[in-house]
């Protein structure tokens, strides 16, 4: 059963007085446990796609059904709720909060869901251990290497056990060795049954997925199944 379903999704921006059609009718469906890569040249609607999938934005037309819920007409507060419960973001530039420790960063999504202090601490330590940061609980992001920061971000994305992990160029800011490590981590998570969507322009990253969706000019140009 599909947990992500896009039905004729369109997105139109106003740039001054000019209408920009970022997405011109996208139909997609991802199943639970799938590993999908979305690729495309710049201007193809990749970022818009990411923002829509991440519930940071609403489509101008069409439907987005996430886990059986139509999120395309939700208001701001409801979308915030959906983001905290259903979506785990992994950003290119990690996006950790500088003044918080490793554990506190992982706890942020739980905090907005109203977890108790004790529970959320337990969950955060568990996840930190899972991504291999068991000894760095109290470090600040600035005291960690890029790879370690991205691990914290992965742990944070997993915190509320979301439906989908949404990774935006997850290795873009990393050297190839640590990049490989992060991709290995994502592969492991996928093996554990997580649904992962990566947005990238790197063929090497896309090759980790099962399916590659290529966007051109706001439309799905083609879909490829990655050969193993």
């Amino acid at each position: 059963m599909a947990i992500v379903e896009l039905q004729d999704v369109r997105k139109t921006y106003m740039m001054g007085h000019v209408e920009v059609h970022a997405l011109r009718g996208v139909d997609l469906a991802f199943d639970e446990g799938e590993y999908v890569a979305i690729m495309g040249p710049s201007g193809s609607g990749k970022s818009t796609m990411l923002n829509l999938l991440g519930c940071l934005d609403r489509p101008s037309a069409g439907k987005y059904i996430l886990g059986g819920e139509d999120v395309s007409r939700m208001n701001d507060d409801e979308l915030s709720g959906v983001r905290s419960r259903r979506i785990g973001f992994i950003f290119q530039s990690y996006n950790l909060i500088a003044q918080l420790s490793v554990i506190e960063n992982i706890e942020v999504p739980l905090y907005y869901q109203g977890w108790s202090e004790h529970e959320s601490y337990g969950r955060a330590t568990e996840l930190a251990a899972l991504v291999g940061l068991a000894e760095r609980f109290d470090h600040r992001p600035s005291e960690l290497s890029g790879g370690q920061q991205q691990r914290v971000a992965v742990a944070r994305a997993l915190a509320s056990d979301p439906l989908i992990l949404l990774a935006d160029e997850p290795t873009g800011n990393l050297d190839s060795k640590t990049g490989t490590e992060i991709m290995q981590l994502l592969d492991d998570l996928h093996a554990q049954g997580k649904t992962i969507i990566t947005v990238t322009h790197d063929e090497g990253i896309a090759r980790h997925s099962q399916r590659v969706i290529r966007l051109v000019d706001g439309r799905v140009d083609r879909e490829e199944v990655v050969a193993r």
Partner: protein
């Protein structure tokens, strides 16, 4: 649950503020100055008003005081040639006031003579006041020990006297003054009573101790009749190369009326009555009630001025907070984006930034209250002014500071909450 959320929110706020210690500190300082100036100004204003009203109340609000004043000299050459300067109130004035003005309830005339008072080898330059038995009642003074002058003393023109505490201090430092004698001029007077100290005396004692200067307050009361017969009406005072001879019958008449409402009309009648019998302006009429009202009026103006200044400094503090919070919001745009992406609702963002401003203004408010309590103490110690810190002024100052925090925090918090999360995430 709610408690945890609040604690957590405040903790996060504290952490973010701690990141910029100097900036947060300076912002708090702005608030501290605002609040402490409110507290200090209210305390000083309250003290000053209390002091003024106490002093006037001491004169008695239903009293009217008529004092003899030396008319300005050198008005005309002919007066200069006159050897004896006659001025002031007379026994006739007193009689006339007592008999013709119906609203006058009690009237106490008095004479003042400046003379040295001796006890063995101890001497003090004192003011001898000849007065009537009901002086204590009319001036709201109390006799601490012994008794005041009686009508019997008046009849017999007795050589008795009542001392002010100041005189006891100087003349009888080691023994009990009652039933002892003091010498004034050539006569000996028996001490029959000692007055209770007034608030003014306490203040004066403090002054004397602080500065080592002995000021007046050395009064000694004798029966009016005795004063008249022993010292007469003529006073000789020799200055450098000149001699002034003055003739004054009465120096002061204190009039008490039945009712507060009668004070002002009675004072008007008194003025008219006296004008008729005095060619020169050799008296003045002091109406404590009018002074009290003027003092209250001045106090009100004073309070408004002080309050406005304090309010402006609070406002400046508030603007400082707003300024810093706006800078913080801009600086932390990305953090806001991250938090929004991770599920923070707009309200969560508002609460987060508002809690920071409330922390800033709250800490500022508390420290301001603390400093604000210390300032009046220092003022009291060094400027020798009375100050009163009232609990409500602390409450008001702190309340306003908290309010300022919320009011000036709303806009930056609102701005943070209504950012587009996508834009915010892209912000460098």
């Amino acid at each position: 649950m709610i408690g945890f959320q609040v604690k957590r929110t405040l903790l996060i706020g504290l952490k973010s503020l701690w990141l910029h210690k100097l900036r947060s500190g300076l912002t708090v300082l702005g608030m501290v100055f605002g609040v402490c100036s409110v507290v200090a100004m209210l305390a000083i204003g309250e003290g000053a008003s209390y002091e003024a009203q106490e002093q006037i109340k001491l004169l008695g609000s239903t009293n009217i005081i008529i004092r003899a004043v030396k008319p300005p000299s050198g008005e005309s050459a002919s007066e200069q040639t006159q050897r004896v300067l006659v001025y002031g109130l007379t026994y006739d004035d007193a009689e006339r006031i007592a008999t013709t003005i119906p609203s006058v309830q009690v009237m106490a005339p008095e004479r003042e003579i400046r003379k040295d008072v001796w006890r063995l080898h101890r001497r003090i330059d004192a003011t001898i006041i000849g007065t009537v038995p009901w002086f204590t009642e009319i001036s709201s003074r109390r006799v601490a020990r012994g008794r005041f002058i009686t009508s019997m003393d008046m009849h017999t023109t007795a050589n008795v006297c009542v001392l002010e505490p100041r005189l006891v201090e100087v003349l009888f430092p080691f023994n009990d003054p009652l039933e002892k004698t003091v010498k004034i001029g050539r006569e000996y007077y028996r001490v029959v009573g000692v007055m209770a100290p007034t608030g003014k005396d306490a203040q004066r004692n403090k002054d004397a101790k602080a500065g080592g200067v002995e000021k007046g307050g050395a009064e000694l009361y004798i029966p009016l009749t005795s004063a008249r017969s022993r010292f007469g009406e003529i006073t000789l005072s020799s200055g450098s190369g000149s001699m002034d001879i003055e003739e004054v019958e009465l120096h002061e008449i204190i009039v008490r009326v039945d009712d507060l409402d009668l004070v002002v009309p009675t004072s008007r009648i008194l003025r008219e009555t006296l004008k008729r019998f005095h060619k020169k302006q050799d008296y003045e009429i002091i109406v404590p009630l009018e002074q009290l009202r003027t003092a209250q009026e001045i106090q009100r103006t004073y309070n408004i001025v002080l309050g406005s200044i304090a309010a402006i400094s609070l406002l400046v503090g508030g603007i400082g907070i707003m300024n810093i919070m706006l800078a913080t919001v801009t600086e932390r745009t990305r953090e806001i984006g991250i938090r929004r992406a991770l599920g923070a609702k707009r309200w969560d963002i508002i609460v987060q930034f508002l809690s920071e401003t409330v922390l800033l203004s709250g800490v500022g408010g508390l420290s301001g209250v603390a400093v604000g309590i210390l300032i009046p103490l220092a003022v009291e110690r060094f400027a020798d002014m009375r100050t009163i810190v009232t609990w409500w002024s602390l409450l008001v100052a702190f309340g306003i500071s908290a309010l300022v925090g919320v009011v000036f925090g709303i806009y930056p918090a609102y701005r943070a909450a209504y950012m587009d999360p996508i834009e915010a995430l892209r912000h460098e």
